[in-house]
């Protein structure tokens, strides 16, 4: 009844191609943004910001990055945390050696460096695909693990191998308090999501999806596989590089080399499988899921009055992750985002059944 397109006729291609063609969607998005920027800072506690919202936002950014490569372009990567590591260490070194630079510039530079490394490790995708490519990306993961742990220059010769960062200061604004971090991240996320959405619906996005769906046919209609795959790797790594820098600077503050290990890579993959591959919304949903689940598992036994050891909760986490991956792959390979889309379809017909 409410969610209908009645009367919403488009008379120009421009209006038909806009991001949110349905009026109700536009209203919802506007309301969401107002809520996120205007209401949340006053309603949410510091603890929730630090433990939930901030990691959620940063992981959503990384998930968008991985989704562009895996969900939209169909290239598998199970070592993507490597590019987050590159971004984090690049940002650290740039900020260290050129302290006058605005942090946003540092972020972009870190992203570009991560993009370059991404292109390098994306080269194998030109010759191999599927599980072979998965192994190649693992090589990236283990190599960067080793690189940042052993080559002392990256950690500025720190004795312990870990690095520490000072709170971000931009144009006089010291981003210290959780609320400030949140607002900064929210701004970054909005911009990056917009860019991702634009890319996905323009011709590079179609090139990626064509490569994903049928690469031989894509080539036959003139798409250059090298360009499509390497740009996918580049932009995906750019996003993950920025996310890595944010993860290190805003969320962790200080980190050791293993902060960006295989577990994080696999978590990113799970985010987009559960959330929805080939869907920006899915990246957000998946990130939320991965962040909330451990906390839920920690608290749920208390609510149910049972006592469960921390070891047990981590085992349960593994089991639930595993079971959910399998469940989603069988039941809804397009993830929760697809369920959301189906729900919206039903909503358009409501209150009629069909």
């Amino acid at each position: 009844m409410f969610y209908r397109e009645n009367g919403q006729f488009k008379s120009t291609y421009a209006s038909d191609q806009q991001m949110l063609p349905i009026l109700q969607d536009r209203i919802f998005m506007a309301a969401l943004l107002v809520f996120a920027f205007g209401a949340v800072p006053f309603v949410v506690s510091d603890y929730l910001f630090l433990s939930l919202v901030i990691p959620f936002l940063i992981l959503a950014l990384a998930a968008i990055g991985l989704n562009l490569l895996v969900g939209y372009c169909g290239q598998i990567s199970i070592g993507h945390a490597a590019f987050m590591a590159v971004g984090a260490y690049a940002a650290y070194n740039i900020a260290l050696r050129i302290p006058q630079l605005n942090f946003l510039v540092v972020l972009v530079l870190a992203g570009l460096i991560a993009a370059a490394v991404g292109v390098l490790f994306g080269v194998p995708s030109l010759r191999i695909k599927g599980l072979y490519l998965a192994v190649a990306t693992l090589a990236a993961q283990f190599f960067t693990d080793w690189l940042f742990a052993r080559v002392k220059w990256f950690t500025n010769y720190a004795h312990s191998g870990s690095v520490q960062t000072a709170p971000i200061e931009m144009l006089g604004w010291k981003i210290d308090a959780p609320v400030e971090k949140y607002l900064f991240l929210l701004g970054v996320l909005v911009v990056f999501t917009l860019i991702a959405k634009n890319l996905v619906r323009s011709h590079i996005g179609r090139e990626w999806m064509a490569m994903r769906d049928m690469d031989v046919a894509a080539e036959v209609i003139g798409i250059r596989p090298v360009y499509a795959k390497l740009t996918a790797f580049a932009i995906s790594s750019f996003y993950c590089g920025v996310a890595g820098a944010l993860w290190g600077f805003v969320h962790l503050g200080s980190w050791e080399p293993l902060a960006f290990n295989l577990t994080l890579s696999l978590n990113l993959l799970f985010m987009i499988i559960i959330g929805g591959m080939g869907s920006l919304l899915g990246s957000y949903i998946g990130a939320a899921f991965i962040v909330i689940l451990p906390i839920l598992l920690n608290q749920a036994p208390q609510w149910l009055g049972m006592r469960v050891s921390t070891a047990m909760t981590s085992h349960l986490e593994l089991m639930i992750f595993g079971a959910l991956i399998i469940f989603f792959l069988i039941v809804e390979p397009l993830g929760l985002a697809r369920l959301w889309a189906v729900g919206k379809e039903k909503l358009r017909l409501w209150p009629f059944p069909h």
Partner: protein, 338 residues
């Protein structure tokens, strides 16, 4: 003719020459003792055998069902845990038999709950499903069997033995356990080869590996075959688990170590049992050599904080192989029909 062969295969040959060079490089340093070199070589071969054991499971499953079993490592851990814990209450042989039965049940469950529903999906989806299985098994295994470090007592002496003291100065230290492992692995490979070539089930497995639909059309029950394959892989995982476990102790890191087997199947070829063995040996030797001889050189040259080359050497080697010869040494070339 020879020029033609070289011309076509120059990347592989270059890689081969480079590897050979790497193998002989330690002798460039005059201080390398031949005895020590042989020790490292043997250590590498032994480690390689252990990798091969895990890689065998990979190759078997891929050969028969085209599925890349990310959960092989988790299966190794699960089997090892089962044996270790059961052996606390019963003699070792009984524990092993019971664990084998459990692995068969596991194989049946995996086929029923994971493989069958996903039978028509792309390989990437199946890969990720096995990833899910790996996660689940890791958690489940530790829930059921516990998460401490356990040991498996095979009754083999743990002290190394000194051999060939006459030939090399100071002799060479060889681990009895490793020796037994090598023999077991060889026996396993032989047994599998016989199984595949001589028995009807083995032939059916090879038919399925070749062409699922054709095999079905001559009446081979696909589902049962897959249960058999996963059970055999489970058996291989059990053997690997017992040997690894007795050597390293049964702990969570076992399933991660098994990730090393991935480069092994890349080198050897995903569908080749021989490849799993040869690949394992190459990776084992290469890793050890790189760690012991190349490591110090790199540490000196780049002022690194310690070695750890082992962590990525196998993968980088696999990466090079992927670029040069993706089908591995013994695998089949894949042709895309349009």
């Amino acid at each position: 003719m020879l020029k033609n062969v070289i011309g076509k295969n120059w990347p592989v040959l270059t890689l081969g020459v480079a590897l050979l060079g790497g193998l002989l490089a330690p002798f460039a340093d005059k201080s390398t003792m031949p005895g020590f070199y042989v020790e490292v070589l043997l250590g590498g071969l032994m480690a390689g055998v252990l990798y091969s054991l895990v890689a065998l499971g990979f190759a078997l499953i891929f050969k028969a069902s085209g599925v890349f079993n990310f959960a092989q490592g988790a299966m190794v851990l699960f089997a090892a845990l089962a044996v270790a814990r059961l052996a606390e209450r019963m003699p070792l042989w009984a524990a092993i038999l019971l664990a084998m039965a459990i692995m068969v049940v596991l194989a049946w469950l995996i086929e029923r709950l994971v493989l069958r529903p996903l039978v028509n999906q792309e390989p990437v989806a199946l890969l990720m499903a096995t990833l899910g299985v790996a996660y689940f098994l890791d958690g489940f295994g530790q829930t059921v069997w516990g998460s401490d470090i356990y040991s498996i007592e095979l009754g083999i002496a743990k002290e190394p033995v000194m051999i060939l003291a006459g030939l090399f100065q100071g002799g060479i230290l060889v681990n009895k356990e490793d020796f037994v492992a090598a023999i077991v692995a060889a026996a396993l490979v032989l047994g599998l080869a016989v199984f595949f070539q001589k028995t009807p089930t083995g032939r059916a497995l090879r038919a399925v590996a070749d062409d699922h639909q054709a095999a079905q059309s001559i009446g081979i029950p696909l589902n049962r075959i897959w249960v058999i394959v996963w059970s055999v892989a489970g058996f291989v995982a059990l053997v690997a688990g017992v040997i690894w476990g007795s050597k390293l102790g049964v702990q969570f890191s076992l399933s991660q170590v098994a990730l090393k087997a991935l480069p092994v199947v890349i080198l050897g070829g995903f569908t080749s049992v021989t490849g799993a063995i040869v690949g394992g040996l190459i990776i084992g030797v290469g890793e050890k050599m790189a760690e012991v001889f190349l490591g110090p050189v790199l540490v000196q040259a780049f002022d690194l904080a310690g070695g750890g080359i082992e962590n990525w050497f196998a993968y980088m080697l696999a990466l090079l192989f992927l670029l040069v010869r993706p089908e591995g040494l013994f695998g089949e070339k894949h042709i895309d029909r349009v």
